[in-house]
Amino acid sequence: MRRLLTVLLLACAAVGFALPAQAHNVLVSSDPKDGATLSASPARVTLVFDQAVRQGYAQVGVTGADGSSWADGAAEVSAEQVSVKVKPLPAGGSYVVGYRILSSDGHPVTGKIGFSVAASAAGAPAGQPQQGDGATAAGQDQRADSAKAAEAAANGGAGMAVVWIVAALLLLAAGTAVALRRAPAASTAAASTAAASTAAASTAAASTAAASTAEAEAEARPSEGTRA
């Protein structure tokens, strides 16, 4: 038992240290700020999280009080910033920015902030002054690139794993079927045998589904490879 514990602790340590530091994203600030009243319609809405947001999957919507949508195009992710262009907003309205991003620890994170445009504001976007935008843009691009590279490095190629799993699945399915047929039915209680056989039937049905899933994943992979 002590030997078992030692092995387990070592295994825990190995896995624990091998895991990349991916954490849960939290919204730390935004432009415009939550609850702000703007004097002019913003050209874009930017949400800033405490750490890099995963590429893809990010969605940002800008919705008026009447449910109309004002976001112009899809959300753009640049390291920890997620932004979306905004159509010219009519003055004197309040708007809700809803977002759903994929946190770097793999959970969808949703939330919303609100802002309003003052009634006296001009209808067209007045080019919201964004301090030092041009200067940091290059740096942001670089950071986005390195974030992409880090993501790719952390994830590696899982392609071979799928092939192995398909092979193991087929082998095990055959083995399970044979072993359960051979299992000494007479020695077990009748009820437990019945339970086992119904379970076996459902497992067999589900396993074919799982195997086909994995196979199709394997087929889908070559195209993924060429993209990378």
Partner: protein
């Protein structure tokens, strides 16, 4: 003679079903209830996943956990029974081994289904295609963790099959370790913090997951398969009791460290207040209460029933165990919600 035999085996089956049923039903009910109550509210302008995903994901996820617990517990049975008296233990083990294989299969299938459901969750309004699933696994650590867990479950099924064929020549330790190893990637699918404390918290999480599985699985397997045989129970239960004491300490300590640590290290979370205001904090409190509920139940079995069982007397062990395992099932259900609840 035949009549008493059948009624005894009927009672045995009923007791086993009670324990297993309490575990599964409590797990699913708690998972769906806790996930529904702590679901992220829909935001204007953002499509949210449909009810199939909202309810299906927690159910599949908790079934994954329960199947993994079953595999660990069933693998522990030979170790608890000992290897000195094969004539007495072999009939029990002949029933346990095929069930361990089936549970491992269920585990693997639930892990793969969870990947499908999580892909669907990230792509609301679309039926997940194989391309979407492949890119999810390629891009997101959760998908890879589940895939690795499924692979370990299949390995456990393979080794279990060898045990069905070759009996105890297949080392029991090997089966336990492979099953526990399959649990290690599970914390990757939960929360993580962006801090130097990430690794210690991850290890604390690993201890929590493996300890809980050994405790719940060992208890359920002992009650279902060993309890009907008084002689074997007198050997196995004291061994399990020692292990359970260690597990109880490890699980409650590591749970508190992980829960409070994760909250303390998340930016924008004020600790004493967030325990009652955030979903994550409330779920931590609920789990603490459930563990506190387990203590008297476990103590009753340990200090009241165990001495009687040692002497070979009859006890209401199965009913008490069903109650304890039911509370464990609730805790597992809440655990599914806690991995997904918002911290802030």
């Amino acid at each position: 003679m035949t009549a008493t035999l059948t009624s005894r085996s009927g009672q045995r089956v009923a007791g086993g079903r009670l324990v297993a049923g309490a575990f599964v039903v409590c797990g699913i009910v708690a998972a769906v209830a806790a996930s529904t109550l702590t679901a992220q509210e829909s935001v204007p302008g953002i499509p949210m996943p449909g009810p199939i995903v909202a309810y299906g994901l927690p159910v599949v996820r908790v079934l994954l956990d329960l199947a993994a617990v079953a595999v660990v517990g069933l693998s522990l049975v030979p170790k608890l029974l000992g290897f000195d008296d094969p004539d007495a233990t072999e009939p029990v083990l002949r029933r346990v081994r095929p069930l361990a294989v089936l549970a491992a299969w269920t585990w693997a299938i639930c892990a793969l289904l969870t990947i499908v459901f999580q892909t669907a969750e990230l792509n609301p309004g679309r039926v997940p295609t194989f391309g979407l699933i492949a890119s999810y696994v390629e891009e997101v650590g959760t998908g890879q963790g589940l895939l690795f867990s499924a692979a370990c479950a299949l390995a456990a099924a393979g080794i279990g099959l060898m045990a069905v064929r070759f009996g105890e020549k297949v080392p029991a330790e090997l089966r336990i370790i492979v099953a526990l190893f399959g649990l290690l990637p599970i914390p990757v699918t939960g929360h993580a913090v962006n801090s130097v404390w990430h690794d210690p918290i991850m290890i604390s999480m690993e201890i929590h997951v493996t300890g809980a599985a050994a405790w719940a699985g060992g208890l359920a397997a002992t009650a279902v398969f060993v309890a009907p045989h008084r002689g074997l129970l007198a050997v196995a239960l004291p061994k399990f009791s020692r292990m359970a004491t260690v597990c109880l300490l490890l699980v409650s300590l590591s749970g508190l460290v992980t829960g409070l640590g994760t909250m303390a290290l998340t930016p924008g979370v004020e600790l004493p207040g967030a325990i009652v205001t955030s979903h994550y904090g409330v779920l931590v409190v609920i789990k603490t209460v459930l563990v506190a509920l387990l203590v008297p139940l476990a103590a009753h079995i340990r200090f009241r029933l165990l001495p009687v069982i040692r002497r070979g007397g009859a006890t209401a062990l199965v009913s008490w165990t069903a109650a304890e395992v039911g509370v464990m099932g609730l805790a597992y259900g809440v655990a599914v919600a806690i991995t997904r609840a918002s911290i802030g």
